[in-house]
């Protein structure tokens, strides 16, 4: 009971609302992050309303229309059609949802695994810290994507497995970020105070450590959502992700490869969709990083 009271007094302030205002203003002041916000909005709208805004929702979902195969962009099919006569624009719009969902799932899982481990490592210090950090070293010793590929080889291909493999190779980044925050907070008076009056460790980590790690985690997650879209697209391109007839961007680029010299739009537009989505998150992430930590440039 006493613990709970002191906690309320000693707990660090969450990001005050005027700081949130500052972040929003800084994002709107930078032309690049405004472009990024627009791109992200487009992606979210396409993901949310895809079946309603796509001109040919059935074709987007996979229905074929062989009579109109490989039509160039223009006319009824603004971005042309694929080898099975499906409207490219509809396919791309319907591809937004799986792309965004997979990415959110991967980053979410990575945060859920990484943040608590990092918080405990940083807060406890000592042997446990050493053990957890060496574990992250191991995972980070593999070039990006290579570990995910090896895991997919062990699990078998498929979209869900690809997502799981990506999350397993992504969590160490979040463990490291959270650990840094936790280690810097460990000796601060409000944490000391909480500890000395007997607040259980789990509560300290949950109430005092993790909330302070939210900003750096959010910045990293923003960039990572884009990076994971790129990674999942790459895996799909080589056949380790989604399976046909799913409207998957990476898969569409891969299907169009055989036609690239004469029907450039087949690979061109889905690739553009990947590029613009990733670009959106990176543009916003870049500005966010400048706001929170002008010196930190990573990956």
């Amino acid at each position: 009971m006493i613990g709970a009271n002191v906690e309320a007094v000693a707990a660090p302030q969450e990001l005050p609302s005027r700081d949130r205002g500052r972040v929003v203003r800084a994002l709107l002041a930078d032309p690049l992050s405004v472009v990024g916000l627009v791109l992200i909005t487009l992606l979210v709208v396409a993901a949310a309303l895809g079946p309603w805004i796509a001109p040919f929702p059935d074709q987007g979902a996979g229905q074929t229309n062989i009579g109109e195969a490989l039509l160039p962009p223009g006319g009824e099919h603004l971005l042309g059609t694929d080898r099975l006569g499906r409207d490219m624009l509809s396919r791309i719009i319907l591809g937004a949802r799986p792309a965004l969902l997979v990415s959110l799932l991967v980053v979410g899982l990575a945060v859920l695994i990484g943040a608590p481990l990092g918080a405990i490592a940083g807060y406890r210090g000592g042997r446990l810290d050493e053990a957890i950090m060496r574990l992250t070293d191991l995972f980070l010793a593999f070039p990006p994507l290579l570990l995910a590929m090896a895991i997919i080889a062990a699990l078998g291909p498929g979209l869900e497995r690809a997502a799981l493999a990506l999350a397993i190779s992504w969590w160490p980044w979040y463990a490291r970020i959270t650990r840094g925050v936790a280690a810097s907070l460990r000796e601060r008076p409000f944490v000391d105070a909480a500890r000395s009056i007997g607040v259980p460790e789990r509560t300290i980590v949950r109430r005092h450590i993790l909330p302070n790690a939210i900003s750096p985690i959010l910045v990293q997650a923003t960039v990572d959502i884009g990076t994971v879209i790129l990674a999942a697209g790459s895996l799909a391109f080589i056949g380790l992700g989604a399976r046909p007839p799913a409207p998957d961007w990476g898969l569409m680029v891969s299907e169009g490869r055989t036609f690239i010299l004469d029907q450039w739009w087949y690979s061109g537009f889905p690739g553009l969709a990947i590029f613009l989505s990733v670009l959106g998150f990176n543009l916003v992430g870049d500005t966010l990083r400048d706001i929170f930590d002008p010196r930190q440039v990573r990956r």
Binding site: M149, F237, W264
Partner: protein, 338 residues
């Protein structure tokens, strides 16, 4: 310095040891029937029994791990299911092609990335800075496989300037074959004075190398910009300017020299990224390197090959980071004394 070296080398070996534990786990512990994976699809029961015996899969895991380590260290990385040849020689045969591509891309990236970063810092907040930032961020956002396809359409189909794919035109083999020295076609052709082959090899190298360089250019430009901004704000730069030293000397001689060590750090990361990035570029350009082999191995569940590549990639990564750390300690005494 030697103490630093010893400590750093020790960590690298420990990490490599750990990496082998991870590949061992993926190869032997996670799959429910590793023997079947090693034979490939359509394994017969007696074959599985034979391989189980051969690989010692019925022995306790710690003993299996010791065997596995012994095999890796003596160069026995298993036999590829796809090609029926030893995995290690398959990998070593293809390594020069990948390295040639990788190194060329790195050189392009370091030159252009640094240049763009310096430019951006000099023009901070003004239009050129904005353009460079956009290029840098676009570079790290672009799917390499897509960029490669676009460049093929532009430079092969539209402009007819550069070859579509491959490492060499097929007729070069008959007109003016390359003598094998290093396995790098451009270097081999150059040192043997084989200009026809050199031109052809270089032309084939341009598009894939530029494609692969896009991501590192972005990373290096961002890092250089940040560290240049910091360096340009230092007192010694202000003093130099106050003494009337030319702007070019201030920027390129004084500030850039101090801005380089952080760039070196990203170089390690970048190389590692590009190793897997090269896989996708190789696929698009039919480049006969490790990437093709790796992707075929992944798709055909060629288990020994996949694990071999993972191990090699991780080992390469660890060694690159080791080299970067040593270079950094050599450049900056604060690092080795810390």
């Amino acid at each position: 310095m030697s103490r630093f070296l010893g400590r750093r080398l020790g960590t690298a070996i420990l990490v490599l040891f750990g990496v082998s534990l991870v590949t061992f786990t993926l190869a032997r512990v996670i799959p429910s029937n590793p023997a079947a994976l090693y034979i490939g699809p359509r394994a017969r029961a007696e074959e599985i029994a034979r391989v189980t015996e051969e690989l010692g899969l019925n022995r306790p895991l710690p003993l299996q791990y010791l065997d596995y380590m012994g095999d890796m260290l003596t160069g026995d990385w298993g036999t590829s299911i796809g090609t029926k040849r030893p995995v290690l020689s398959e990998i070593l045969d293809r390594l020069p092609a990948t390295l040639e591509l990788l190194i060329t891309a790195m050189v392009i990236a370091v030159v252009f990335g640094t240049l763009l970063g310096v430019l951006s810092a000099q023009w901070r907040g003004r239009p050129p800075d904005l353009v460079v930032r956009l290029i840098a961020i676009a570079g790290v956002s672009m799917p390499a496989f897509w960029l490669g396809l676009l460049l093929q359409v532009l430079f092969f189909r539209q402009l007819d300037l550069l070859p579509l794919s491959g490492r060499l035109d097929t007729d070069i083999r008959f007109i003016s074959p390359i003598t094998d020295v290093t396995g790098f076609f451009t270097i081999d052709a150059f040192v043997t004075g084989n200009w026809v082959a050199f031109g052809d090899a270089a032309a084939h190298l341009v598009l894939p190398a530029v494609t692969l360089a896009a991501y590192p250019i972005g990373l290096i430009a961002r890092m250089t910009r940040a560290s240049m901004l910091e360096a340009l704000g230092q007192d010694y730069v202000r003093s130099a300017r106050a003494y009337g030293i030319g702007e070019r000397t201030v920027v390129y001689r004084l500030a850039l020299r101090n801005a380089l060590p952080p760039t070196l750090t990203v170089l390690g990361l970048t190389l590692a990224y590009s190793l897997t990035g090269a896989f996708f570029v190789e696929i698009v350009f039919n480049w006969p390197g490790l990437g093709q082999f790796a992707v075929d191995a992944l798709l055909n569940v060629d288990y020994p090959a996949v694990m071999g590549i993972a191990l090699l990639g991780a080992a390469g990564y660890v060694l690159i980071n080791l080299a970067v750390d040593i270079a950094q300690a050599w450049l900056d005494p604060r690092v080795r004394l810390a």
